[in-house]
Subunit: 243 residues, 2 copies
């Protein structure tokens, strides 16, 4: 085990931060390093918007489902897949820009590889991070606040700051439920692995004072209702083509 | 600069590998650490398939656009967004599983955060990696070879191995073209930043003996034609709903 792997293995999302801001030099340093992430054909189809206005941060915290950390963390960003630069260059060269699922997907993948690099970079500076999927709760309102140009697809928020808590590390699925060799396991083999994980999660929840909880029942009901049903329409308005 | 940031900042994709295989213990160690990546509501909506059969590896190398490294690297994986576990649990609990863009997107994001953690973990072991977007060239044929179950959405290949080359590090866009404070720059400001990057890329290409090349012209024409137009249909066949 080297120190980098050790750090990756110790990740916990941080949800309570001190009010200490994150110095701009640390942000620049982390972003520059993170930009070295692999990117499909070097298209670099992502961008990030730092939100520093406290009023906007408070409004975003509400939109994300009353997540106070969005307002309170040392630095808050919105991570975006971004085809805008490609569109501007096509326009300047009088070329057609074709929007399609491949282009959207490349942007999402590029943005996430960059974001996870950034997460690791910040954590290596003893900062804590939290991804905020709740940003997708109401992208129409977020757009009114933040004016994303055409071709920019906001994906999630990203909190960074100095931790004001020391949470438990949450166990993950057994390796065998995630990494397969040459073929996928049968349904029953998969369910057996999940049962094993449920036992571990059950112990974890007991330690956290939430006896009786485990993984399967949460997941079984998680997709019963449509969630964030306006997402596709929002991205289409921003110029995406998902077909 | 700490050693982790230094490592992130030094990334180059490796495209030529020695024939030395990657020991299974190293793979397990890296995957276990990478699993600690943040995951939306702990759904862990990803999986990876290791391909060890040389015949299948050769066939995949062809499908990915004759990328020999797919056959030759020390270990090759297919990274997938994966809703299968969620579907199995919903079925076991007699609950409905609703497929929607949010579910697909969560899977893609989860898979990418995991994959980038894995990239960093392997690189910290002095292994090299390369993402293979070319896997999306022909997912219908890949599916015939690899039999992904319903709910599994292959996204890209992932080569790992011992480097047999020492390539240049490719420069990235200026920080100011990627990280914005409170608002997006104007079109003209963005194009000015790109012109600055073109100068740097031009120097990079001269160093590599490809004088006259730079970034903008490649990007301007990159989206003129539809690419991988059957992607949406393929994912729908696998159970995705992109609306």
């Amino acid at each position: 085990m080297n120190s980098t792997i050790d750090q990756i293995a110790q990740h916990r999302s941080i949800r309570q931060f001190t009010s200490q801001p994150v110095a701009p030099e640390l942000i620049s340093q982390a972003v520059k390093a993170a930009q070295q992430a692999a990117t499909s054909s070097n298209v670099q189809a992502y961008s990030m918007l730092q939100i520093s206005d406290p009023k906007v941060r408070h409004k975003l915290a509400e939109l994300c489902g009353n997540q106070e950390k969005v307002a309170e963390c040392g630095a808050f960003f919105v991570m975006c897949a971004d085809s805008r630069r490609h569109r501007l260059l096509a326009k300047r060269a009088n070329k057609k820009y074709q929007s399609h699922l491949e282009g959207f997907l490349v942007g999402v993948i590029d943005a996430c590889l960059f974001a996870q690099n950034l997460a690791i970079a910040f954590e290596s500076m003893d900062l804590g991070i939290c991804y905020i999927g709740g940003l997708r709760n109401d992208l129409i309102q977020a757009q009114k606040l933040l004016n994303f140009p055409i071709g920019v697809y906001p994906l999630f928020g990203f909190c960074v700051g100095y931790p004001d808590e020391d949470p438990f590390k949450r166990p993950r699925l057994p390796l065998q439920a995630v990494l397969f060799k040459d073929q996928y396991p049968s349904d029953q083999e998969m369910l057996d692995l999940i049962d094993e994980y449920d036992q571990e999660m059950s112990t974890y929840y007991i330690q956290r004072g939430a006896s009786g909880r485990t993984w399967s029942p949460q997941i079984a009901g998680f997709h019963e209702e449509l969630r964030r049903g306006d997402l596709a329409d929002f991205y289409k308005e921003q110029g995406a083509n998902l077909t």
